[in-house]
């Protein structure tokens, strides 16, 4: 697999570090942002190619699905692969994620094997 660039949008440093460790053997370059501003900086200003965004739904000041919606309404990122991470997977959440063409969702607490499997399935369809 070619080097894949993953952007994690998550405001807990502990969770970010854990995800990095999960992906350490997967030929991925992982960057992270804690907010919409940081996310758009990573994607746009630095010109980085992002192959996948892993988005926490429950950010402190933002709703991750709102950020996904903002990405999807921008033609440049309408098809950018996104996996959302959430504690709850209620019906209304799943419905909204589907309408936003989210590629997959992962439940918290995160288990290594299912996390890596789901990420790889999106990166290598």
């Amino acid at each position: 697999m070619d080097l894949k660039r993953i952007l994690i949008v998550e405001d807990s440093p502990t969770v970010v570090e854990q995800m990095r460790l999960f992906l350490r053997n997967e030929n991925c370059k992982v960057t992270h942002a804690g907010s919409e501003f940081g996310m758009m900086q990573m994607i746009e200003e630095y010109g980085k190619v992002v192959d996948l965004v892993i988005m926490d739904v429950n950010l402190k000041n933002e709703n991750g699905l709102d950020l996904v919606e903002k990405l999807r309404t921008n033609d440049k990122y309408a098809t950018l692969p996104v996996i959302v991470v959430t504690e709850h997977a209620q019906v209304d959440f799943i419905m909204r994620a589907k309408t936003l063409n989210v590629n997959d969702y992962i439940r918290k607490p995160i288990a290594k094997e299912s996390f890596v499997d789901r990420v790889m399935k999106v990166l290598i369809p």
Partner: protein, 145 residues
């Protein structure tokens, strides 16, 4: 609703967590360091939010530390954080009655009709977190020795 809070020495197993992470404990030191930095900061903010009667902020922090404890498989700490998180979902301060534990040796505490306050829960979270922290420091100190 019965609420039982265990006050015991930490039952956290670094080796079990490392096994689930599929990594040797030595390679998890940075993760634990990140955890301690974050939890220290969140706990400090939680106390400040409590002092300022900011229940919305308290809820946000309780939600976050509950999640972190769950991800790190710190079950006792997670459960106590969850109790605080769930109580803070109720708009008006909640009164919870709990019953006297039958085994005083396991540290189960409570008394009939008592009010479980946010401050007592925050104190309990701090105690349990400090026990985990001590376990981590001791483990990595011994590892380096």
């Amino acid at each position: 609703m019965k609420i039982m809070i265990k006050t015991t020495t930490s039952d956290y197993s670094i080796k079990d967590f490392a096994a689930h992470m599929e990594m040797p404990p030595a390679e998890l030191e940075n993760l634990f360091r990140t955890f301690i930095e974050e939890f220290d900061s969140e706990l400090s903010d939680l106390k400040a939010a409590h002092d300022n009667n900011d229940s919305k902020r308290m809820y946000s922090i309780a939600h976050n530390i509950k999640g972190i404890a769950a991800n790190m498989e710190m079950d006792t700490l997670f459960k106590t954080c969850k109790i605080l998180n769930d109580l803070l979902k109720v708009p008006v301060s909640a009164t919870v009655s709990n019953e006297i534990g039958t085994n005083s040796n396991d540290g189960t505490i409570g008394s009939n009709g008592s009010t479980l306050s946010y401050s007592s829960l925050i104190h309990e979270i701090e105690c349990q977190y400090n026990q985990v922290k001590d376990t981590l420091f001791e483990f990595y100190h011994d590892l380096r020795a």
